[in-house]
Amino acid sequence: MDDMKLLRDFGAALEHEPPASLARQRNRLTGARPRRRRVGLLVTGLAAVATAAAVAVPTLVLRGHQTVAPPAGARPAKVTTGALNVLLVGTDSRAGSERFRNGARTDTILLVHLPADRKEITAVSIPRDSIVQIPRCGALPPRKDMINSAFNQGGLTCTVKTIETLTDVRIDHMVEVDFLAFKEVVNALGGVQVTMKQPVNDPKSKLRLPAGTSILNGEQALGYMRLRNYGDGSDMQRIKRQQVLLRAMMAKAKKTLTDPGKVSAFLGVAGKSIKADKDFDMETMVDLATSLSDSRPRFLTVPWVPSPDDPNRIVWKQPAADRLFARLR
């Protein structure tokens, strides 16, 4: 009778595998760095842009994806250092459905900054509840409104124009991922794992999950992305959940897409309804995806305060927001 062997077996029976949410502890570590605390940014996540860039973005090049026109008129100067800014929006439009053609809204807005060396990628979540000054775009007059209304009324082109005007950051490329595309990406990855503290039963997002760890399929992951009636119900918590989900997708992609064959099979099924600008072509994409291999992405959210006019809306906190965007120019 070997007591050590018995003890080890006993331990193995008690052992639990680390959940995906363990990655949050890594953010605690990187978020605790004094430099960032001084900047006062909400550091919420680490690995998501790579998902955006390495998972969602390349899919569009393998299909004849729909293109989006760049905004007209004066724009912030293009940086020539080799850095890139990509605007990634998730919309609730449904491909092929006329009903949603004009009513689409941006549920998720991410401004992704890729520095020339592609090492420290920054993804800035822009809360959709931000009340901002929306510039004149096409036939639409300038106005003060929620940032996602720019997309609702003027499409991705007007969203880009709005963000360029507000941040003075030149958007080099833009990508739109809709519900269908998102679902397919998740399904192609074979599902993605999340851990919930409380069970979810939300008719609005059609999501039902027990507390604890679950593997979400595309439909459920979409529900999770959209879920609002959970926790304190705020857009901020939703953004954090989205960042957690994107990070989990990234981890899954790393685990699943281990050889070029798998990658191309994945891209083959994943890329149906993504739109981008026409300069974002195959070569650019493949280069970009390759250059991101050992990057360290991190997540920020635009610094904000509750709107003085409406506690359910927010406004960007100045000068912190400007300082953040200055780093992306």
């Binding site: 029976a13 008690l14 570590l29 991101l292």
Partner: protein
């Protein structure tokens, strides 16, 4: 873009790199967070494990300048910090083992191959093992479990706990003796034969 690099530097290199580039420290998390998580999950269950792993790395990060670069492997250092943090949960841990005395453990490993030579399966011996662990003094339990569940060597355990190797041996022997006594008193094999 997906595969891990074929070679990797020593942990000590990462720690010293983090003195000037704090980002480098995150790599240590990537290397060892899962391992530490599994270890805590055995001792305290999955609920507090996530937080404790996070805290371990926060403490380690704060102390990274006092790391002795002569040790290439950072595992003993991290296990040492984790052990101190676990000791704050002493009561939770003992209560957990006592609960295991009564409730059957969910089976993860329970195949005939796991039966030991003497024919006493770990599963059958669980109540005795749990009881013995609950009754062990913390110091002896730390040593026993760092070796049995953390897979550290005697030297690494000594380093983790900041004690001489001789002390590791004596604590381990004491712990094992008590475990064996617990197993011997109610041997499931004998019960089966009776």
């Amino acid at each position: 873009m997906i595969t891990q690099p074929a070679t990797r530097g020593a942990d000590a290199d990462l720690v010293s790199a983090s003195w000037t580039q704090p980002e480098a420290f995150a790599e240590l998390f990537d290397r060892y967070s899962a391992m530490l998580y599994r270890y805590v999950s055995k001792r305290l269950g999955p609920e507090p494990a996530e937080d404790l792993v996070g805290e371990t790395f926060l403490v380690a990060f704060a102390r990274r300048r006092s790391y002795d670069l002569a040790y290439a492997d950072a595992r003993p250092w991290l296990f040492g910090i984790l052990t101190k943090l676990i000791s704050r949960h002493r009561r939770t841990e003992a209560a957990r083992y006592r609960a295991l005395l009564r409730a059957p453990v969910e089976d993860r490993v329970d195949s005939p191959a796991d039966r030991v030579a003497a024919g006493v399966s770990a599963q059958a011996a669980r109540p005795e093992l749990a009881g013995a662990l609950a009754a062990l003094p913390t110091k002896d339990r730390d040593v026993l479990l760092l070796i049995a569940w953390g897979d550290l060597t005697y030297e690494e355990t000594a380093q983790a706990l900041g004690i001489p190797v001789g002390t590791v041996r004596s604590r381990l022997n004491r712990g094992r003796r008590k475990v064996r006594a617990a197993l011997g008193e109610t041997n499931p094999l004998l019960d089966e034969e009776a």
